[in-house]
């Protein structure tokens, strides 16, 4: 199967394709000796999991930061959520790592390119090793999918660290390659299912912040990952109508599917709704990354009232409607008459 053929296949469908079956069979045989009973991702959903009370959130002096470069939090035994240290990059994106019986999905790769500077690859490898040790698997038998929520550098910068990793596929950096990676033909409406091996990830288009963005729903933890189009901070909306339609799709999805948490890629505000300005490297009183479906619904209701470009605080997030060039939440504190 050449790359072009792969691009035209949804990853889930490819599992049953005969051409692919032969390839997958090799790995299955190799792992068969050590393989334990597969993890059951279908019953007892949503999986019980928890977010940390506090993520690492930078420090007053960056060079004195002693936190790990990546905060690894195991939401449940089969789901890790990674966060970049704010003193390694102010963007500090979150990155879920979903484990299935056959595959592992990494969503988003932080804002530092070089492994020398920020070893995301090493951290992910370690997580996979830990999971395999717990579940009696051979790490070499698992395929790693390196994907990202949308086409911005703070979400794909470290992708190249995985370039020489065996049994790894990574998403290309164009809109067409991104769609092809998930085998989508009708973006953004089409919803595809990625089978990680008993664990289904539903993926569909969610543009508005940028053209090329996806929403990811994990059927096991029932976490809806909304990328940069909806997160606890400044949602920079480049295309309002497109974003509004994407919000409508998210709401429709929540109407028909159980959603435990809605989760964005960043946190840029405090618990009290105070804005942490763009570029800050210390957020001591951060809001939690996870949101409820109700917060999503409230934001959508709020968005219905917005007709003009500007910055709107909905109580949950800041909606920056077409303001990217003139983002002006904070004021000069030294103004006087």
């Amino acid at each position: 199967m050449d790359r072009r053929t792969f691009l035209s296949y949804p990853a889930a469908a490819a599992m049953t394709a005969t051409a692919y079956g032969a390839l997958a069979g090799v790995a299955d045989n190799a792992a068969a000796a050590t393989r334990h009973a597969p993890v059951d991702f279908k019953s007892n959903v949503p999986a019980k999991g928890s977010f940390p009370a506090r993520w690492i959130c930078g420090s007053p002096s960056c060079m004195d930061n002693m936190d790990p470069p990546v905060h690894v939090h195991w939401y449940d035994p089969h789901t890790a959520i990674l966060r970049q240290n704010k003193c390694y990059s102010f963007e500090a994106p979150f990155a879920p790592l979903y484990f299935g019986n056959d595959r592992v999905l990494l969503l988003d790769e932080g804002f530092v390119q070089l492994r020398n500077d920020w070893d995301l690859r090493g951290v992910v490898d370690k997580c996979i090793e830990q999971w395999c040790a717990r579940n009696g698997r051979d790490p070499a038998s698992l395929e790693l999918l390196v994907a990202f929520s949308h086409l911005h550098a703070d979400h794909y910068a470290a992708t190249n660290q995985f370039a020489d990793r065996p049994r790894t596929r990574y998403m290309g950096l164009t809109h067409e390659e991104m769609l092809g990676f998930w085998g989508m033909k009708n973006f953004p409406e089409e919803r595809v299912t990625l089978d990680l091996g008993g664990r289904d990830i539903l993926i569909w288009g969610s543009p508005g912040h940028v053209v090329s963005e996806f929403a990811y729903y994990d059927s096991y933890t029932q976490i809806l990952y909304t990328g940069d189009m909806f997160y606890r901070g400044r949602c920079y909306i480049s295309f309002w109508d497109v974003w509004f339609a994407s919000m409508k799709r998210l709401i429709d999805f929540c109407d028909t599917h159980p959603v435990a948490h809605v989760m964005g890629c960043h946190v840029e505000m405090s618990k009290d709704g105070e804005d942490y300005a763009y570029g800050m490297t210390y957020q001591p009183d951060e809001a939690p990354v996870q949101m409820t479906v109700q917060q999503l619904r409230d934001t959508f209701a709020f968005a219905k009232t917005i007709t003009k470009p500007g910055i709107y605080f909905t109580g949950t997030v800041f909606l920056c409607n077409q303001t990217r060039g003139t983002t002006t939440i904070d004021k000069n504190p030294y103004r006087y008459d």
Partner: protein, 362 residues
């Protein structure tokens, strides 16, 4: 020539030997030496019986330079291992200190000037914690070393701020609480005016801080801060302007005051020699009109710190242009923000400047 009676180091092959020369430290009268070089410590005797008294009267600016590159942070701020305080010696009696960009993104400059009777510290940095930013320790070390070289027991220190309210410059002040032989210019505006004797003629008057034959002049320059002052050093002919005038994003606090202060500074610079203006930060890149965003912890392509006094006219012209308007204005060596957020952006790039894209660190 066989019977040469004296040892000549140069003839013996030791051409670098200082003892063979009439002026071991260089002849101060040679034409390439600026007139004031005779006042530098290279001309003082090596072993002295009394404290050295320096002659600060000189024709033209005292020699000095800023020949080192400033530390500029690192791509991975957490991995930065530069000194927390960078010290650059401008000349024997003037020091420039910079806070590490990865301790605080404002990376303010702090100036330490010495005279025959005392020292002056202008500004105190953006971090209060002494373990993160050991300003007091550093200043104490410089003063101790300077005192030893000059044969002094005590060097009284005055600490003044270009603005008492500016948290990028006043945070280190707490480290000096209780320091002996130290005078701290009070931060509240009314007390500060009285200290400088400017209570009745703010902002048009001029105060002084006498360091002993080196009298620093204090000029009110409100505009970015309502308690802003600038300091003029007639020895080095340097003007220390803090947040009021620096190669970066100047956030105007009150445009009327800003224009009036610039007019006074322009008049001052045309009547007195000013070699350079040294501000409190650098935020511009070396490419004209390009600047680092707030909170940047990696600034490898910074513009130099010093500003030529001719730039005052340009700042004044631009300040008049935007007075009364809420807008930002980009020029080659500075950006003015009037009534807008410090995060404001604009697509108006000045047409008369080359629109260069400096390399991005990423």
């Amino acid at each position: 020539m066989a019977g040469a009676s004296t040892y000549n180091a140069a003839l013996s092959g030791n051409v670098q030997s200082a003892t063979g020369r009439a002026y071991p430290n260089g002849n101060p009268d040679l034409p390439w030496n600026p007139p004031a070089v005779r006042h530098t410590d290279s001309a003082i005797p090596l072993h002295r019986a009394r404290p050295v008294t320096h002659d600060y009267a000189c024709d033209g600016p005292a020699p000095g330079n800023l020949a080192f590159r400033w530390t500029y942070g690192s791509n991975i701020a957490a991995k930065n291992r530069d000194p927390r305080v960078q010290i650059v010696q401008y000349n024997e009696d003037s020091f420039v200190l910079r806070q590490n960009v990865c301790v605080h993104w404002e990376a303010p400059f702090t100036y330490l000037l010495f005279g025959n009777k005392g020292a002056l510290l202008i500004d105190t940095g953006a971090t209060a914690a002494a373990d993160l930013y050991p300003l007091r320790t550093t200043v104490d070390a410089i003063i101790a070393r300077w005192a030893q070289a000059r044969g002094r027991k005590k060097v009284p220190l005055t600490i003044a701020l270009t603005s008492g309210e500016d948290i990028a410059q006043n945070q280190g002040l707490v480290q000096f609480a209780g320091r002996p032989d130290t005078v701290i210019v009070p931060k509240p505006l009314a007390l500060m005016k009285s200290f400088y004797g400017l209570r009745d003629n703010w902002p048009t008057g001029t105060g002084t801080i006498d360091l002993g034959d080196r009298v620093i002049e204090v000029m009110p320059t409100p505009g970015t801060h309502k308690d802003g002052v600038s300091f003029y050093d007639p020895y080095c002919d340097l003007l220390f302007t803090g947040d009021f005038l620096f190669p970066g994003r100047i956030n105007i606090g009150n445009d009327h005051d800003f224009v009036r202060s610039l007019e006074r500074i322009a008049a001052f610079a045309s009547s007195r020699p000013v070699k350079w203006i040294l501000g409190g930060h650098i935020e511009m890149m070396f490419a004209p009109g390009r600047y680092y965003p707030r909170f940047a912890t990696y600034k490898p392509y910074e513009r130099i710190l010093q500003i030529e006094p001719a730039l005052i006219d340009e700042v004044l012209r631009c300040a008049r242009e935007i007075q009364g308007k809420d807008m930002m204005l980009i020029r080659g060596d500075f950006v003015l923000y009037n009534g807008v957020s410090p995060d404001q952006r604009t697509s108006d790039f000045p047409a008369d400047l080359p629109n260069l894209n400096p390399p991005r660190p990423f």
